[in-house]
């Protein structure tokens, strides 16, 4: 007969086999019941179906960009065959790029987006920090004006903004950066203020005591702490500016400068009947860089959207 010995278990002690089996069993049971619902397979299939629906439009545009223009409207859902395929295979792309000057539009879009985002981040983060740290009538007014500007629709200022920009000769890819800084400042300043409030002031005071002037304090202490917010703001503003059609189409001198959305709209507006082949090819060219950018920076984009939404 075994004598019962009260022991305390220690790390690495072997449990009796029957206890081990019990622990294993309960662990297995718990993991299956809490993780997988009984319909899990069904939901997977449903989600896969929805994903297919999500991808189809882009695939269709891609397929149609290789068809002759007469067949695109007639049978958009069929795969190209020997009769409907363009010859040479990329001729829709080459003719479309020539018609709307896609390359220069693409370069303009890059210059405007990168330039504006860089200037917005630099200026508004400094401004947001200044507003949070210096409490005055000016900073309070500026803060509430920024919040207010976020709910004003663009149509409200569309006409007068175009006139103001025209008077100040801002109708070129560099000048439009000022307009974007002004109209995009609302959201950016608001987000930077919200985050700058949570930085402990002691850190900045310590830097000052160590002999930093405000500029050094800002670039060596504050800016690194604000980095996650900078990424969020950069992504939100970049998504807006890259895709914006109305503001550049009113502000830019359209005979000289086009952006990608303006160029695509021009394909429709400039000619009586739309060349569907060239249109499809240009749509593909407009989408590809975005998808590549998205797949590379996916993590930051999704985090940026969540952070922007929670604060905005």
């Amino acid at each position: 007969m075994a004598v019962y010995k009260p022991t305390t278990l220690q790390k690495g002690d072997q449990l009796p086999p029957e206890v081990q089996a019990l622990v294993k069993k309960s662990a297995r049971k718990k993991s299956t019941s809490s993780r997988q619902s009984p319909y899990s397979g069904l939901w997977s299939i449903l989600l896969s179906l929805i994903s297919v629906i999500y991808v189809i439009p882009i695939v269709l545009v891609f397929i149609n960009s290789f068809k002759r223009k007469a067949y695109i409207n007639k049978s958009p859902f069929s795969l190209p065959n020997a009769k409907t395929l363009v010859n040479p295979i990329l001729s829709n792309y080459t003719s479309g790029m020539q018609k709307i000057g896609f390359t220069s539009a693409f370069v303009n879009s890059i210059i405007i987006t990168v330039g504006s985002v860089f200037v917005i981040i630099l200026c508004t983060s400094m401004c947001g920090w200044y507003i949070t740290r210096v409490k005055s009538v000016f900073s309070t007014c500026m803060y509430y004006l920024c919040v207010f500007s976020m709910i004003v629709p663009f149509q409200m200022v569309m006409f007068t903004l175009a006139k103001t920009a025209d008077t100040l000769h801002l109708g070129n890819p560099i000048g439009i950066i000022v307009v974007y800084l002004g109209f995009g400042a609302g959201l950016a300043v608001f987000m930077f203020c919200g985050f700058a409030k949570s930085i402990p002031i002691e850190i900045e005071e310590a830097a000052m005591i160590d002999g930093c002037n405000p500029v050094q304090t800002y670039f060596q202490v504050v800016m690194p702490i604000l980095k996650p917010t900078c990424i969020s703001v950069a992504i939100l503003e970049a998504m807006w500016i890259w895709n914006d059609y109305l503001l550049p189409s009113l502000v830019l001198d359209k005979t000289k400068y086009k952006t990608v959305p303006i160029a695509i709209q021009y394909l429709k507006g400039g000619y009586g009947s739309v060349d569907m082949g060239a249109m499809m090819a240009m749509l593909v060219l407009a989408i590809i860089p975005i998808i590549i950018f998205y797949l590379v920076c996916q993590k930051y984009i999704i985090e940026g959207v969540v952070a922007g939404a929670v604060k905005g």
Binding site: V61, P76, S149, Q155, M158, Y245, I301
Partner: protein
Amino acid sequence: MNKKVLRIYFPLFALPTLIAFIIGFLVPFGMGIYLSFCKFTTVNDAQWVGFKNFQEVFKYDSEFIHALWYTALFAVVSVITINVFGFSIAMLLTKGIRGTNIFRTVFFMPNLIGGIVLGYIWQLILNGIISKVFDATLTYSATYGFWGMVILMNWQQIGYVMIIYIAGIQNVPSELLEAARIDGATDVQVLGKVILPMVMPSITICTFITLTNSFKLFDQNLALTNGAPSNKSQLLALNIYDTFYGRAGYEGIGQAKAVVFFIIVGALAVAQLFLTHRKEVQQ
């Protein structure tokens, strides 16, 4: 002491943003308000006419009134569908199904594509479907245009609200869910009594974003139908744009419409934030 030192640096830290903000927002906004009471063709020849522009908008402009109702209906339908679908997908994606990351990536993708490009993509597809099923085109009736825009907006925005809802659902403390299960709550009860109240802040944000986006929709409308047939599928933003740039001599009326538009969007935004904020649970 810190603040006094910082104050001297005003020109460096705040002035660039302030100047751009004045050029890009304050001056155009102020001028816009003033010009809505004027008759003008360029900004320099403005003549004060009082409330005449506003009277004309509401008395004689039946297209504007039509666009107003059309936009309101469109906003209601798209806000409801986008949020219901977005929330449902977010619920599915927080269940730990295999491949969640891939699904999330795919659903969010259309959000990054611009309105003009989206409009032309869907014009191709919807025209293809409508010509097969109804033997017509997208520009045949404003109803086609309406549902076309609803589908387009759903395709674009479901991914966006889904991301925000996923973050909200993941923040619900698991103790609360376990406690509810132990007390014998069914799945429906857990959803209605625990999850929904806890994600109320996300619902506030998502309805706010989708509501203002649908009211301000312009690019997609321009590319998909451009108001056809005969301006019946015009949303407010496009109607204002056409008033400004489509016919000469109506700039004052266009500006008055823009002010009305601004007041509507502003009032809706404030009212919506106020109403849904009240329902949020204090933690």
